[in-house]
Structure formats: structure tokens, C-alpha cells
């Protein structure tokens, strides 16, 4: 992705300083992660707050070599999106498309439109408003999967409904991300149309490859040596992401599409090996995003963020009720579905970051950060409210 516009271009880089800065950032992440676990909330909002504190204009600015951190953050977003794309198999995606398209459509309209409208009301351009629609639309599959597990709801009858909605959101992202990736670089109409055609062609090709050659690809990549496996996987990932960036589809989007296409054994391999990398570099990504938001810009977006959060709770709950009722579930299960879909998290930040790095709208970063901070914390709390037996917070 393009260099962060504000990266410091210092010539003489002091390795010691960078290492100290990185050490501080990682330790802060570790502390925040522990705190999040103890409070029973996801770590993403705390990482963002950490970034706010450590960034420019924050109380404890850290110099981890902005350039280094921005590269780390870029690796983070690539790995995050690769794993997000991998979460569901191509088969899941196909089944989801067949069975949940209506609920998926309701989900998209109800939750995307408020963000889009808010963008226009705030006087943003179309591109920024479309990005904000993505931010308000997408639920956090990471937070939701974690909570379903922690609350022992894995066998509940509403769980497949919730998961298939998340699958639909994944499918929507496969089309949405390439389009916004093109929009944010502010291409002219013909350039934009061409780039979107290329992007959608890439998506179609990716799915075709996934269905036709998935097995063969898996067999070619798989190795019994973890060392060879990780080198191959990271190599392919960065190569694909880099090429995607070169044709202006954005590295993150390339990684996501790659994740969607990998299946079978190689998908299991990646899911087993990459999470530690995701935890480190994904942590950098969230902190870096937080660091780019100057705390002084937050008060101005607080009211719109709160309003969007309230609407976002309402629209996701309506979506959940609709989907659960359509599947014939009881009142209580409808309520659980409704609350469970509320959390927004990593994906919203990723969408916003596409706009932030391209400098689309200065308020997008702060607004997305505030929005996710509110809903990543409020979502899980609401979810526990529907579970009287386990009101414990950890």
C-alpha cells in the first residue's frame, strides 16, 4: 500500500531506538491484551486506545521508527485479511450464497445505508461515505466467534444462522473491497471502470480457481515440514498482496482474495501456523491505526459515532431477529441472534484504514475508531446480558 502520508523520512535510522520503540509497543500490547482478557472484552478496542496514547498528539508518543511500524502494520493487515478470507471454505461460501442471500441482503441494506447516509450528511464525498457504509455494515467475525465459544453457545440452534450471516458478509467483502480499493485512489471514471472490471475479474477468477483447482493447489503447497510450509505460505501471500498492490487493488484485498481461494489441507496448515504472526503484526496494525488518529480529533466525531453506534445496534438486532425468525427459531433464540451480531471490530478498522492511507477523508479514521471502540465493547456486554446463567465477565 502507499506509504503512510505522514511517515517520517529520516535518513539515518538508529536500530537501537527502533528496537526499544518496538519493545515498548509490544509490551503495551501484551499488557492491554491481559487487561482485555480480565475484563472479558475483545482486545481490538484496547489496542486502538493504546495506539491513541502512543501516537502523535497522545500523552506518551513513542518513536518506534514510523516507517518500520507502518511496514509492520501493512504486514499485519495482509495476514489479518488472509486469515479472515480463510475462515470459511469455498464450499461454505457457496452454501451461504444459496441459503442466506435474503437475510444477507437485509443485513447489507439495513447496516450499510446508515453509514452511507451519515457520510453524506457530514458532507463527505461519495468514496468516504461508501467506506463508512462498510464500517457500519460489517460485524466482527473474530469477536463473535470468540464469544459464541466462551458462552458455550456453539451447539445452540441460532449459531448456524449467525455464522451463515457472517459468511454472507465475507462474500460481500469479496466484491466490496476491490471496488473501494479502486475508488480510494481517486481514479477517473474510465480508469475506475477498468480497474473495477479487473478487480471483479480477479474475484471471479479466484473463485473459479478455488472450485476447480483447490485440491491441486493444496497438494502443491503442502509440506510436512512446518519451516518449508510457513516460508511457502508467507512467500505466496506477500507476492500476491504485492502484485495486487501493483495493479492498484490494494495489498490487503489481494490477501483476502487469496484467503478465500485456499481450501482443504493447506487452509488448515495456514490456520495452524499463521495466528502467532497475526497476533504480532495484527497488533501493530491496530496500534498503528490508533496512532494515526490524533486524540484531539475525537471529540468532534463523538456525537456522530454515538448516533451511528445506537443505530448500528438497532439495525443489527433487526437483522438478527429477521434471520432467526425466518429460520423458525423461538423468541429467545431470536433475541440471542440479534445481540450476537452487534459487535463491530477488526474488519471495520481494516475498511477504514483503506481510506485513511489514501487520505480520503480526515474524519474517517477518528469516526471509525470511535465507532468500533463503542461497539466492540458494547456488543459483547449486550451479548452477555442475554445469558443470565453466565453473567461472569471473564
Amino acid at each position: 500500500m502507499r506509504e503512510a502520508s505522514d511517515a517520517v523520512g529520516s535518513a539515518a535510522v538508529n536500530v537501537g531506538d527502533i528496537l526499544i520503540g518496538l519493545g515498548v509497543v509490544l509490551l503495551v500490547l501484551a499488557m492491554l491484551g491481559r487487561l482485555a482478557a480480565r475484563m472479558g472484552i475483545p482486545s481490538v478496542p484496547l489496542y486502538l486506545i493504546g495506539g491513541l496514547f502512543l501516537g502523535r498528539g497522545g500523552p506518551f508518543p513513542v518513536d518506534a521508527g514510523d516507517e518500520f511500524l507502518s511496514v509492520g502494520a501493512e504486514i499485519g493487515i495482509v495476514i489479518l485479511l488472509l486469515l479472515l478470507g480463510l475462515e470459511y471454505s469455498p464450499q461454505d461460501l457457496r452454501d451461504g450464497m444459496r441459503s442466506t442471500w435474503l437475510a444477507g441482503l437485509v443485513d447489507g441494506l439495513l447496516n450499510g445505508l446508515p453509514g452511507f447516509a451519515a457520510g453524506l450528511i457530514l458532507g463527505w464525498n461519495w468514496t468516504a461515505s461508501i467506506l463508512l457504509a462498510g464500517v457500519t455494515y460489517i460485524s466482527s467475525s473474530g469477536i463473535i466467534a470468540r464469544l459464541i465459544h466462551d458462552l458455550g453457545r456453539i451447539a445452540n440452534r441460532e449459531t448456524p444462522i449467525i455464522l451463515s450471516l457472517l459468511v454472507m458478509e465475507d462474500i460481500v467483502m469479496a466484491v466490496f473491497l476491490p471496488i473501494v480499493a479502486v475508488l480510494v485512489i481517486g481514479a477517473s471514471f474510465t480508469q475506475g471502470a477498468l480497474a473495477i472490471a479487473i478487480a471483479l475479474g480477479a474475484v471471479t477468477l479466484a473463485f473459479a480457481v478455488a472450485f476447480r483447482l483447490g485440491d491441486r493447489v493444496s497438494r502443491a503447497i503442502h509440506s510436512h515440514s512446518n519451516e518449508l510450509l510457513i516460508l511457502t505460505i508467507l512467500g505466496i501471500t506477500f507476492l500476491v498482496a504485492g502484485i495486487a498492490d501493483a495493479v492498484q487493488v490494494s495489498a490487503a484485498v489481494g490477501a483476502f482474495l487469496l484467503g478465500l481461494t485456499l481450501s482443504g489441507r493447506v487452509a488448515d496448515d495456514v490456520r495452524m501456523l499463521l495466528p502467532p504472526f497475526r497476533d504480532v503484526f495484527g497488533g501493530f496494525f491496530f496500534v498503528f491505526f490508533g496512532m494515526q488518529v490524533e486524540p484531539s480529533t475525537l471529540p468532534a466525531v463523538l456525537i456522530p459515532a454515538l448516533a451511528l453506534a445506537v443505530i448500528g445496534v438497532g439495525t443489527k438486532m433487526a437483522t438478527g431477529r429477521f434471520a432467526a425468525a425466518r429460520a423458525g427459531l423461538g423468541k429467545k433464540a431470536q433475541r440471542r441472534t440479534a445481540y450476537t451480531l452487534v459487535p463491530r471490530g477488526e474488519f471495520s478498522i481494516i475498511i477504514a484504514s483503506l481510506g485513511v492511507t489514501a487520505g480520503v477523508e480526515s474524519q474517517l479514521g477518528p469516526l471509525a475508531a470511535a465507532y468500533v471502540l463503542i461497539l466492540a465493547v458494547a456488543g459483547p456486554l449486550l451479548m452477555r446480558l442475554t445469558d443470565p446463567k453466565r453473567s461472569r465477565l471473564a
Binding site: 470459511y88 453457545r153 456453539i154 440452534r157 448456524p160 429467545k332
Partner: protein, 158 residues
Amino acid sequence: MFETKLPGIGVRYEFMTETRDRVGVVVRRDGRRDVAIYDRTDPDACRGTIELSRGDASRLAELLGGTTITERVDELRHTVEGLAIEWVTMPKKKGLTNKTIADGKIRTATSASVVAVIRGEHAVPGPGPNFEFMAGDVVLVMGDADSVKAAAAILTGA
């Protein structure tokens, strides 16, 4: 026995015990199992779940005197992408109950295969064309998704 896919997690199987409790087992992608007992007042929720590691699960299976068929089937599903597997319980009268596999022409009509039949305590692996189904048999059908669905329809007469 019902089978529901849980995208991103694995597969959930559920059945009703003779004492009318609903029991669910989630087989996760990574081999862990969750056993759940559904709530009688809110059948969509669980009264409790226990999470079992691979080792725990085989220990429990041993105690319950079960076979490890599902585990092996699961491994197979992993090796062959797109393979669909369904457990079909034979109905009281309709379908192929009291008829043979050959009567149903499952293989020729749908290209799915009946790989095993579980009758009460024991399993019949690879039943021949003259195998006669009985009400309550649990039939294991394999093939691609569409043909398995068609085969299940022939078996149950639905």
C-alpha cells in the same frame, strides 16, 4: 440424526434420546468435540456443554462403547474436498425400508454410494446390492452434495 454445517467451526450432529432429551455433538475442524444437552424449555439453547479434546473424545467414546466411525469419516471428508456424507435414518414403512439396495438403484440413479449401515449395536460396512434395509437402520451415504441429497430422498421416500 441431523447434521448441520457450522461454517468456520465444523459440523453439528444432533439426535433425540429415548428419554426425549436432545443431544448435540459439534465436531470442530481442529478435531475437538463439544457435547451439548439442549434445554427443554428453550430447545434452541443448551443446558450445558462440555468441550472435549481429541483424546477426551476417544476416551468418552470408549466408555460409551462406541465405534470411531465418525472420526474416520471426518478424516475422509478432509482428504476429499467436496465430499458430502449423510446419515439417513430409515423410516417405518416408506422409501426403501424392507427393500434392497438394488431395488432403489441408488448407485445408477444418483451416483452416490451406501458405504455402511448401522443396525442397532453393530455396523455393516460396505453392504452388497441384496442388503435389505429395516426400519430404524442408520445408513451412511457418500458422494457429491447433490447426489447424496437425491439418494437420501430415495432411501426415505421423501
